[in-house]
């Protein structure tokens, strides 16, 4: 049976290390903030102030209303048209415009068709521009037409703000990275410094060492989560619709899973450098690519879909998006939470089995 007092002794010692080591504190608090700010501003997928040239041949109240509808949004900015015939190709080549809008004569009376040309050298932007234009034409400048009309109603993020999407994702990404780094470095440092050799010649067991290492970092991980959440809400106006206590409970499970992943890494890595590389390798890309953060899991090949089941962030993303955007409660999230719990217990057991109480 693991001895509680011994676990406490190791945990306390770890707290002393953290308090004395400014590098660890930097990793814990400065790194996430930098990541949040850099990722947050760089990963902005919204498009604003698209340069638009309008060729208005109708010159009536209807065409003016349409143009107003375009430029009164934040999405488009009107670029004055040159004299003569509109030449979209030339405008796109010179990068003076990303889209052109041609309004034919008689618009508003006998014709309701306008022509939108888009520079699709960046397909993502082109897609967005098309969507914006559609939205403007359909919603703000509704002209009674015939046939079927699709009336989309977007829930939870009606403006499709990308911050709603990346802030929860970043919490998931940063937490798993930091937590896996913390435990794996902390154990490999003891191996490197030789202190592990000293504490091994005592009645301490692998489980006691591992639990003692994890405990203080759970607290730090939760602090980190709160920090990222707070700064994310402040800087990027992300809503928080769920209950705070639910967030705390499930984040605890995620932090635990990430710390146990770090423990697993430390049973393989012999040096701090190695541990760092391995911890980052196992968290950064898999979380970005395979958790459903960047790309929807449902559109992945089946084999990759299977792999996503062992990515902790996969579960936490459902949880954190659910809580922040949809106001989910435990009832909606317990399955994901259970998956995290099973993962962390499994990893802890494997780590304590693999942890060598002898030198080799």
């Amino acid at each position: 049976m693991p001895n509680l007092n011994r676990i406490k002794a190791i945990a306390e010692k770890e707290v002393f290390h953290i308090l004395r080591d400014s590098r660890t504190l930097t990793i814990i608090f400065i790194m996430p903030l930098l990541q949040l700010i850099i990722f947050g501003y760089a990963m902005n997928m919204e498009i604003r102030q698209v340069p638009l040239v309008v060729d208005d041949s109708a010159l009536n109240s209807s065409s003016q209303a349409l143009i107003d509808a375009f430029i009164h949004t934040d999405y488009f900015r009107l670029v004055p048209k040159d004299e003569g015939i509109l030449n979209p190709g030339e405008l796109f080549k010179e990068r003076r415009a990303q889209a052109t809008l041609s309004i034919p004569q008689g618009f508003g009376k006998d014709s309701f068709t306008v022509l939108l040309k888009i520079d699709a050298s960046d397909p993502n932007s082109a897609q967005m521009i098309q969507n914006y234009a559609n939205g403007i034409v359909n919603n703000r400048f509704a002209i009674a037409g015939a046939g079927i009309t699709l009336q989309p109603l977007i829930l939870y993020n009606p403006d499709l703000k990308s911050s709603f999407f990346f802030v929860p994702g970043l919490i998931a990404l940063i937490l798993v990275m930091i937590c896996a780094l913390l435990t794996s470095i902390s154990i490999s440092r003891e191996k490197e410094m030789g202190t592990m050799e000293q504490i091994l010649v005592s009645p301490v067991s692998a489980t006691e060492i591992l639990l003692g290492k994890v405990l203080p970092y759970i607290f730090l991980g939760l602090m980190d989560a709160l920090l990222i959440l707070g700064v994310g809400m402040l800087l990027f106006q992300v809503p928080f619709r769920g209950e705070f206590i639910v967030f705390l409970g499930f984040t605890f499970l995620y932090v635990l899973t990430s710390l146990c992943l770090g423990l697993l890494v430390s049973t393989v890595a012999k040096t701090q450098q190695g541990a760092m590389m391995m911890a980052l390798g196992m968290t950064l890309l898999p979380t970005l690519l395979l958790s459903g953060y960047m790309f929807p899991i449902s559109s992945m090949p089946v084999i990759l879909q299977k792999i996503t089941y062992i990515i902790p962030a996969r579960y936490y993303l459902q949880i954190i998006r659910g809580i922040m955007l949809k106001g989910n409660s435990v009832r909606h999230l317990y399955q994901s939470g259970l998956s995290l719990l099973i993962m962390s217990v499994t990893m802890l057991i494997i780590a304590s089995r693999r942890f060598k109480l002898r030198l080799s």
Partner: protein, 301 residues
Amino acid sequence: MNAAVARELSVFYGSTEALKSVNLEVPEALVYGIIGPDGAGKTTLMRSLCTLLPYSEGSIRVLGYDALSESAQIRARIGYMPQRFSLYQDLSVEQNLRFFARLFRVSRKEMLIQREKLYEFSRLKPFAKRLAGNLSGGMKQKLALSCALIHTPKLIILDEPTFGVDPVSRVEFWQILHELKREGVSIIVSTPYMDEAVQCDQISLLHKGSVIGQGTPDEIIKAWQGSLYSLKAGNLQELYKYLQSKVDKADLQLFGSEIHLYSKDGLRQELIDTWKHEFSGLASCEEIQPGMEDVFLKMMQ
């Protein structure tokens, strides 16, 4: 009962044999020295004794327990001081002691008593709040010893505890070891310093993974056969060169400001006179009592 016994102990690192059929019997309440140069296998032997290394052949029993199957019992009862300073440098003297006391489940009351005692002999009390990393080399070693003793073990295993420590601190360290012995603690200590061998009650001489001599330091020195001469000259290098042409090179050892010459049957006075005649720089040639280092160097051959 013996504090530790090793029988036909062999340890391999891959295909290299670090220890070759080592036999060892460490009696209780004695200072037992493992003496040998760097790379002799001292650390491997010490680590095997404190159950840190899995060994390939032979057996080890420490305090009556088997080192492979009963390592937990052994680890709870011994104190170990690794070769490298292995305490937490960013923890204070006090915090290090307290941490190791808790690892060994020493109650707070016992810990305080034992700590006072350890402070007394190590004289570390004034530095209780200092970080271990900021201690001097000698003090670090005393702290490491104190941490190894905080749970009052019956046996302590010290791997080169005086390596890189200044001469004054070394003397002090050995005084502490003798004091501990009087209190009934068994001590296994390794050292590359021959002059420390005579401080031990019993020693094993280790060379290239094999034991080449065992017994009390006196016994080992007395077992010496032949004569030893100390030769001095103004230009020692020249003398060394000259002697190489006269005797077997293996019998010659440069020893600081003199040359030690081993002779199985002793040197005749006429021979010495001839040398003095041929090599005018030869100032003196006297027969001396061999020291541990002479014995060890001879045994290594």
